[in-house]
């Protein structure tokens, strides 16, 4: 699996987050829900997991970019939430590098959770369903390209 590159653990400088907070947050939610809906359409996400998401609210927060996406799943679609009220049913918070490492299957979410690099709050069972659903998706073979990042490595 993607031996071609590894994503180092990095943290973006603080000003990025301060800047990020000032930007509108909806593009993140739109991008994420569009991707999720594409996955639903491709039948990559199992029905039983999706059924458990119905009416639940989610928040994905990237700590070091200051970006966040709030969304829900209703009537067969993931939808951005423009004005989320109250605490979400499930919130994931981590730095960008941790999200990238999980997304590329380079690190196990449990590992990051034990190391306190990934925080999961809210409905624990819902969190487990999300995690296991993402784990079970058969990823297409990722292209192998060298990725170099201008940040200090561990």
């Amino acid at each position: 699996m993607n031996q071609g590159f590894t994503i180092p653990k990095f943290q973006l400088p603080g000003f990025v987050a301060r800047l990020g907070h000032k930007l509108p947050q909806w593009p993140h939610a739109v991008a994420l829900t569009t991707a999720l809906n594409a996955a639903v359409k491709m039948k990559l996400l199992p029905e039983d997991s999706l059924a458990a998401f119905d009416g639940k609210t989610f928040l994905v927060q990237v700590l070091d970019t200051g970006g966040q996406a709030a969304f829900t799943y209703r009537g067969g679609f993931f939808r951005p939430l423009w004005n989320p009220v109250g605490a979400p049913d499930l919130a994931f918070r981590a730095n960008l590098s941790a999200f990238l490492q999980v997304a590329s299957r380079q690190e196990d979410p449990d590992t990051l959770f034990f190391n306190r690099e990934l925080s999961i709050e809210g409905d624990t069972e819902l969190g487990l369903i999300v995690k296991n659903m993402l784990d079970a998706i058969e990823l297409p073979q990722l292209p192998k390209f060298p990725l170099s990042l201008p940040f200090g490595q561990r």
């Binding site: 299957r105 196990d108 590992t111 034990f114 306190r116 624990t124 369903i129 659903m133």
Partner: protein, 337 residues
């Protein structure tokens, strides 16, 4: 030592990508379970339905890797047929072995499927050769997975006195060494591995983030409190910090992982037939990391020219994925019995 005399590397899979990761990274066998309470990792969204199982079995067999099916919980009153059906389905799929814990189910499987290879699960809690030989005599059990409670010398004693192959744990999160008999989770929430196939089911778990710390609760019972930079563990009672006589500490066990890299040559010398990795609940990334590390360590033993020594990058890879970020040799090297 040639490769055929090495013990089998038995790796966990909770999903098809994890199974493929195990096969591709050098597992000799992969163990899995159905998406229900007939196995001890019955977590939401985990495990295999029929479709993914058929594909997984084909993938493994094409690459010469065995599939072991864990049906290792205890049939619950009034629902015995669910467990029997699971045995029949697994046998029908042509799995290489079924891992069972319950004596009644072993009896059923051995009569109904006399040619099916049967393994005795760690949940069956057989720690003596007498218990293992009983399972061999009565149900034709061919392999037993030893609970993580024995010293290396005790494991050797078992091996010397049984015709049954012995499988031991090589890596993974530790229980409080009371395999198959722990009811702590039921005490807190009425459900435990032997009844519903999960310790501390997620629906009872609450991670509560507060400024500077995180609290873990199981059905309302405070289990632990972590400072922001402190490593966390699974929300099980055995790994909680409790106040005992005015002192708050890990009263039962600290979150740790077992790691046998250091004693791998001894384990092989005493005749262990298979080494098992814990963690069907973990991701494909974990399976990849642990499988390739243990494969490299085992293969290093076949190198005649070099003396075996634990490479720092193996230890680094394994300690990274460890629960609690620390690893022990568990019971294998404890001085008392």
């Amino acid at each position: 030592m040639d490769r055929s005399s090495l013990p089998d590397l038995v790796c966990p899979a909770g999903s098809l990508p994890a199974l493929k990761a195990a096969v591709d990274n050098g597992a000799d066998a992969v163990y899995l379970g159905f998406k229900n309470d007939t196995n001890a990792r019955n977590f939401a969204g985990l495990n295999f339905d029929e479709k993914s199982m058929v594909e997984g079995i084909r993938y493994a067999h094409d690459k010469g890797c065995e599939i072991l099916m864990a049906i290792n919980t205890f049939p619950q009153a009034g629902r015995v047929d669910d467990w029997r059906n699971a045995v029949d389905t697994a046998a029908g799929f042509g799995v290489d072995a079924i891992i069972l814990a319950d004596v009644g189910l072993l009896d059923y499987a051995s009569k109904r499927h006399p040619n099916q290879r049967l393994h005795l699960s760690v949940q069956g809690s057989a720690t003596s050769y007498e218990a293992i030989n009983f399972a061999h005599r009565e149900f034709g059990v061919r392999r037993a997975v030893l609970p993580r409670v024995l010293t290396l010398a005790q494991v050797e004693h078992v091996i010397k006195n049984t015709p049954v192959e012995i499988e031991v744990f090589g890596f993974g999160s530790l229980c409080v060494m009371n395999e198959g008999r722990c009811w702590l989770s039921s005490y807190a929430c009425g459900e435990s591995p032997n009844t519903v196939g999960a310790c501390s089911p997620a629906k009872y778990v609450k991670w509560d983030k507060q400024p500077g710390q995180m609290e873990t609760r199981l059905n309302g019972i405070l289990i632990d409190r972590f400072a922001d930079n402190e490593p966390a563990g699974y929300p099980t009672l055995c790994k909680g910090r409790f106040e005992v006589q005015g002192e708050t500490y890990y009263a039962l066990e600290e979150p740790t992982s077992l790691n046998v890299l250091e004693i791998l040559p001894e384990i092989i010398k005493i005749g262990v037939k298979a080494i098992k990795v814990e963690g069907r609940q973990r991701s494909p990334a974990y399976v990849t990391q642990v499988t390739r590390t243990l494969r490299a360590a085992l293969d290093a033993l076949t190198n005649e020219r070099e003396r075996y020594h634990v490479k720092p990058n193996w230890q680094a890879e394994l300690s990274k994925v460890s629960e609690g970020n620390q690893a022990t040799l568990g019971a294998y090297n404890r001085p008392w019995r």
